[in-house]
């Protein structure tokens, strides 16, 4: 509680300063609005359900994209991490595709999926695929060969050696990749909504800005930060639970 209280000092001070500046006319109300108005807009948008609906739209797209990316990237990463030959075969393709900015795929995704969840989700999946793939490859490559030998001596077939030994051993690294990708997923989902897809929080902000509602625009932005923070906290909690052994090992 004490830590939270100390952590709140800075944002509260900034808010107070913001209110004071707006009140003194130092910042324009048309672009910066005022904390009081922003708070009112936030309460109203939550109360009438628009903010929650937009949040669901944005986060469902982000989660779909992240989930698809995780499944594909972990599977591909495990195979490429274990097989030097396949890795050499694909390294050029990976390095050529990876630098493509994911938002540059918006026109392509629009052509294929039209407007809606799948369009945002596909762009998010593309963006999230690379960090998870690269982290998975290096984590799988870094696992102790002794573990794989243990599996071979017991007669575990290759598929089970991957599932029961390689992937759990690489999980601490993979989780870091997923957490990085989760941040990217929200950024990309909101970007797609701002740029092209008329739905979700991103679109809500654009509409608020264009209809001269800076209070709602700021409220949506703050809300986005809050929800993102909660999502990250949830992922950390999950990670702590799944990786209990990892932290036990660290402390020993």
């Amino acid at each position: 509680m004490r830590r939270v209280a100390i952590g709140m000092i800075f944002p509260l001070a900034v808010t107070a300063l913001w209110e004071l500046a707006a009140w003194a006319g130092a910042v324009s109300g048309d672009s910066f609005s005022r904390p009081v108005l922003v708070a009112a807009a936030l309460v109203a948008a939550v109360a009438d359900g628009t903010l929650l609906r937009q949040t669901a739209e944005t986060f469902v797209s982000a989660i779909i994209g992240l989930a698809i990316a995780t499944v594909l990237a972990v599977a591909a990463g495990a195979v490429l991490g274990l097989s030097r030959t396949l890795e050499r075969l694909t390294v050029l393709t990976v390095e050529a595709l990876r630098p493509i900015p994911s938002v540059a795929l918006i026109p392509v995704a629009l052509l294929i999926f039209g407007f809606g969840q799948n369009m945002t989700g596909s762009v998010v999946a593309f963006a999230c695929f690379w960090p998870i793939l690269i982290v998975t490859i290096s984590s799988v490559r870094g696992i102790d060969p002794r573990l794989i030998e243990v599996g071979r001596m017991m007669g575990l077939p290759l598929a089970k050696r991957i599932r029961k030994l390689a992937l759990p051993a690489a999980l601490p690294g993979i989780m870091v990749g997923i957490r990085i990708a989760a941040g990217i997923a929200i950024v990309v989902a909101v970007t797609v909504e701002i740029a092209a897809n008329p739905r979700g929080l991103g679109h809500g902000m654009i509409v608020a800005q264009q209809s001269l509602h800076p209070d709602l625009m700021w409220a949506t932005l703050l809300w986005l930060g809050l929800v993102g923070w909660i999502a990250n906290w949830g992922l950390l909690r999950l990670e702590r639970r799944w990786l209990r052994w990892f932290w036990a090992q660290r402390e020993a």
């Binding site: 002794r146 071979r152 017991m154 575990l156 051993a169 999980l171 990786l243 052994w245 090992q249």
Partner: protein
């Protein structure tokens, strides 16, 4: 053991060299010996004599350059569940994300035993290795000696015909080592286990073995084979003070880098 039955494990002229002929380095040179059923055979040699490499060849983890490893008369071309190996570095061989019971269960999973039977089957093994009250702990929460017991329990769960042991007690402190030596010797005695035990500690080799094979280094080759005529059960004080023990020790001493 019926007459004429092939030995459980045999090295038939095993040689191993790394590199291509002009620059090749010979690690093992024409090793031939047998491990008959129910016998505890120790291999002792200085570091660098290829003890661990030999064990890996016999386990099917590493192909020999010449000669063959045999299990029950058939060539060992790949690892097989009948041959279990216990590694010295238990910390690397255990799955840190699984509890003690979970680590043992890995052997059951490899054998396709249904999950419902795992607890029933692992309970006697854990009791035998004195791990019963640690079943739900992670390896990192156990001492080195306890972790090595887990690895032994897991290998026993595999129900192998022969145990290959690569300096299993080498990383433990002296008292833990002696305790584990005695426990393991009793276990092998009562269950008539067939064991090939590698160590650089010649006293350990004599203390545990029915037979001791001494290797010399560069290249690894057999220099002496001793049949150990000491009563069982062996005892840390009496056995080590027995005149025969001292005689064996004397004979082996010169092979361990003191030539």
């Amino acid at each position: 053991m019926s007459a004429g039955a092939p030995p459980v494990l045999a090295a038939r002229g095993v040689s191993l060299a790394f590199g291509t002929p002009p620059a090749a380095r010979t690690i093992l040179s024409d090793l031939a010996f047998e491990v008959p059923e129910r016998e505890f055979v120790c291999i002792v040699g200085p570091s660098g004599c290829g003890k661990t490499t030999l064990l890996r060849v016999l386990a099917g983890l590493l192909p020999a350059s010449a000669g063959e490893a045999h299990f029950q008369g058939r060539r060992v071309a790949a690892p097989q569940p009948d041959i279990a190996i216990i590694f010295q570095d238990y910390g690397r061989a255990l799955l840190p994300w699984r509890t003690v019971a979970g680590n043992v269960a890995l052997a059951f999973e490899a054998r396709g035993i249904p999950k419902s039977e795992h607890a029933v089957r692992s309970a006697p093994l854990l009791a035998k290795m004195r791990l019963a009250e640690h079943a739900d702990k992670f390896p990192a929460e156990l001492s080195g000696g306890m972790q090595q017991r887990v690895q032994i329990a897991r290998c026993l769960a595999q129900e192998p015909r022969v145990l290959l042991m690569d300096e299993p007690f080498g990383a433990l402190d002296a008292i833990t080592r002696q305790t584990l030596q005695d426990e393991f010797a009793r276990l092998c005695e009562s269950e008539h286990r067939t064991v090939l035990f590698v160590t650089h500690d010649l006293e350990e080799a004599i203390y545990l073995g029915d037979r001791v094979i001494a290797l010399a280094a560069n290249p690894g080759r057999i220099v002496e084979i001793i049949d150990v005529d000491l009563p069982r059960p062996r005892r840390q004080l009496e056995t080590r003070e027995d005149y025969r023990f001292l005689e064996y020790r004397h004979r082996l001493f010169q092979h361990l880098g003191h030539e």
